[in-house]
Symmetry: C2
Amino acid sequence: MKLVQDMLQGHRLSLARLITKVENRDSDLAEIMAEIYSKTGRAQVWGITGPPGAGKSTLVDRLIELLRSQNKKVAVVAVDPSSPFTGGAILGDRIRMQKHSGDPQVYIRSLGTRGQHGGLSHATKEVVLVLDAAGFDIILVETAGVGQTELEILGLAQTIVVVLVPESGDSIQVMKAGLMEIADVFALNKSDRPEADQLLRELVTMVGMTDHDEKSWLMPVKKTEAVKNVGVSELLQAIQDHQTYLTQSGKRQSQSWEFIKSEVKDILSDRLNQSVDATFLTSSGQEVMQQLMSRTLDPYRAADLISGVSSAS
Amino acid sequence: MKLVQDMLQGHRLSLARLITKVENRDSDLAEIMAEIYSKTGRAQVWGITGPPGAGKSTLVDRLIELLRSQNKKVAVVAVDPSSPFTGGAILGDRIRMQKHSGDPQVYIRSLGTRGQHGGLSHATKEVVLVLDAAGFDIILVETAGVGQTELEILGLAQTIVVVLVPESGDSIQVMKAGLMEIADVFALNKSDRPEADQLLRELVTMVGMTDHDEKSWLMPVKKTEAVKNVGVSELLQAIQDHQTYLTQSGKRQSQSWEFIKSEVKDILSDRLNQSVDATFLTSSGQEVMQQLMSRTLDPYRAADLISGVSSAS
């Protein structure tokens, strides 16, 4: 495909078009992936999450600056599958990052949420593969929360940074949200606020209480003030330390396998959905449907029958 | 199964245990569904959604009171798959509803979000089937937003009530969020606030602009003040009108089919996941894995191979 060749040679518009094809689940998808896949596996993928208003985008902005000074090519994928009731801020944040838009070594893309029913985490995975093939050294995946879809999306990151702000009750929220299990690095942003030191102490205590056998990496807690560019290089160092840890511990391999396995599962799952829809249009499918509707056949036995029809056809 | 028999005879503890089994994806699941399925299809399922702080739970509380005065058995399933950062309020809301806890004709249940990775909407569907079999007339499914998972969950409701509050920009949020497409009834809560009438006008205008050919039901916009019990019976009437419309237009049948089809798909999807995991442990699966990891085989071709292995075994 010419589009893939152009993208691999650094043509930005081709990259943008390929990502749009992936986002829209284009019919060329399998072909695109077949052509790019051998070029993937080189990028570092970092996840950034935290509550709305924690200053994630400003932090990402600062990280981009630092990474550019290290001569790294950086891509940002911003995904917000959470409630559109609070979606207003995201757009503003994207606009703020536009100061990097003139830099050919920086690529920023938001992934839409409308009409993405069920496919958002799959599309995000494949967008990351495209950016990886395009030669970006670091791909930052930013999400605005840790709901079910966000967790699936964060599953593709090698290092997850959880951004918090000093507010009463936050360390309990961290526990409740299961963030101790997903975080590799904590950024305590807006750390000039008076409650910052208390949250810092609580977080460090909580990190100390985690199961060391299970997680031989002790999550660092870094104080930052993204707006004033304070603490950001220390945060970057902590992320890079985690990347070194992944390589040295052998965890990078198992992570990479989990990521690829989930991609294969997503592909099979999409095919399954299409095949079930097709099967219900056949005469034996229609019969199963009638029995389901009259409640003489239950959904589990119907699943047996439907998978029989699908694999026989 | 004794547990199912007891539940069908109105034993509350058996109902609670069955729901826990469904929530935990118990190994008895297929058997449970086979035994209850013929008893389902009678309940009305209403979805209630809206932004945090819109007063959904108070409104649900008032609706329960009214429905009880009409001698209906009512169940509430509260699901919050969204960010746990804002999860604090939900628990409080549940506690507030406990005033109905002494009433044997009311059943309230929260579904957990932790460890529910990917299975929350499936589990919710099956919990609704259990409550339907248990003889509840109305099942209210409450979600705290309209992200991807929430939309999947709302897909099981026959009538969707979107609760809004008068705040500037809200009607634009409604458009952006795609709520015009999912709402059957709007509740404009806290309508004593000064901006209420403007939002009301905007909503009515937007409803008027929707495609009438596509949606022959014109979504009513009802002003409520749940705290003072104002407008709630009018809201209830609008919901019941929509239920009548579903029956008269024939849409109830097609809705019911979509619901059952998605349940069959979810079952097949769960099985697929298990089968893929098992396949990757076989020797041919291990070979595919090696080729994926060395990037000599792409995920789409791997999916072809894996489904070949699965259906041959």
